[in-house]
Amino acid sequence: MKARVTVTLKTGILDPQGKAIEGALRSLGIAGVASVRQGKVFDIEIEGASDRARAEALLKEAADRLLANTVIENYRIELI
C-alpha cells in the first residue's frame, strides 16, 4: 500500500525558508506571490496488502514519533 504523510508548520510558527523563497521569487521577477510556507512530504510504501486501519495506525505512530515535530508541526496522512 502507498501513503503520503504531509507535514506542515503550525500557523504562527516562523518559517524562515518560506520567507527566503518569497524574497527570491520576487527578485526573479515572479510577481503575485503573497506568501510561501514550506513543508515536507513523505511518500511511504507499506509492506503487505491492504489493512487500511493497520496502515493508518502505523503511519500515525511514524508521524508522531519521527516524521513530524509535533511541537511546531502538523501532519496529515493519506492512503493512496
Partner: protein, 233 residues
C-alpha cells in the same frame, strides 16, 4: 592574479577565502556583491566561497544561483575565464547549471567538520598544477550537504573525460567507503566542467594554507592558479 570573491547574503567564508588569496597571490581581492551585474574589469578568477547563502533554504545554493551576478559569472565562464566554487560555491555552481549534478545531504544526515584526505586525480589543470597526479592532500570539510549525486550517464561522462579532479580517499590514496564521509558517488569531492575552467569542490583548501591550522596542503591549489596566470601574463 586578479580574483573576485562573490558575496551572497548568508555566505560566511568569504573572509577566509579573501585572506587566502591575499596570502598566496599577494593581491587584494575584489569582493563582489550578489546584486552586481558585472565583474570588476580584468577579473582572472571568480571565486564563489563557502557558507550558507540564503540560509541554505529551499536547496543549498538554489537561490544564490539565480542572482544577477551569476549571469556575469556565466559569461566569464563562457569566455573561458576560471571559476572556483568551494562548498556552498560548488552547490551554487551545480544549481546554476555551470556544473552537472547536485549535492544532497550527507549520507549520515549530519553536518561534518573534519580533516579529510583527497586524492588529486590530475595535475594538468590550472586548478591542480600545484600538485602531482595521485598526490594525497589533507584539507578540512564543513558541510551537511556534500553528497555528490548525478545520473549514471553524467557520472560516466565525468569519469570518461577525466573531469573528477578530487576524490575522498584514505591517507594512502585508497578510495574506500570508510573514507568517504558524505557518501558521494565514486567518492567525488571536486569536478570541472567540460571546458575545464570551472571547478566545484566541497572541501575547503582555503582553510589549509597557513601553518597555524596544522597543515598547508590547500596552498597548492592557489599557488597553482597564481602560476597559471603568471605563465599567461
Amino acid at each position: 592574479m586578479n580574483s573576485a570573491v562573490l558575496v551572497f547574503p548568508g555566505i560566511n567564508r568569504e573572509r577566509d577565502m579573501a585572506r587566502t588569496l591575499k596570502i598566496v597571490s599577494g593581491n587584494e581581492t575584489a569582493m563582489v556583491w550578489h546584486a552586481e551585474r558585472a565583474l570588476p574589469a580584468g577579473t582572472d578568477l571568480v571565486v564563489i566561497p563557502g557558507g550558507f547563502s540564503y540560509g541554505d533554504y529551499l536547496r543549498c545554493g538554489a537561490i544564490a544561483a539565480r542572482s544577477p551576478v551569476m549571469d556575469a559569472v556565466r559569461a566569464h565562464a563562457a569566455r573561458g575565464g576560471l571559476v572556483l566554487g568551494v562548498c556552498n560555491g560548488f552547490q551554487i555552481l551545480c544549481e546554476s547549471g555551470l556544473l552537472p549534478g547536485v549535492l544532497m545531504r550527507n549520507q549520515q544526515l549530519k553536518f561534518i567538520c573534519r580533516d579529510v584526505y583527497l586524492k588529486v586525480e590530475r595535475s594538468d589543470t590550472p586548478f591542480t598544477r600545484g600538485y602531482n597526479a595521485g598526490q594525497v592532500i589533507r584539507v578540512p570539510v564543513a558541510h551537511g550537504e556534500g553528497n555528490y549525486v548525478a545520473d549514471g550517464e553524467t557520472i560516466a561522462r565525468l569519469e570518461g573525460e577525466g573531469r573528477v579532479l578530487f576524490r575522498y580517499s584514505s591517507p594512502d590514496g585508497i578510495i574506500d567507503p570508510d573514507w568517504n564521509h558524505n557518501g558521494a558517488i565514486n567518492a567525488i569531492a571536486g569536478i570541472v566542467n567540460a571546458g575545464g575552467n570551472v571547478l566545484g569542490m566541497m572541501p575547503h583548501p582555503e582553510n589549509h594554507v597557513e601553518s597555524i591550522m596544522g597543515c598547508t596542503d590547500g596552498r597548492g591549489l592557489f599557488a597553482g592558479l597564481v602560476q597559471h596566470f603568471e605563465k599567461a601574463a
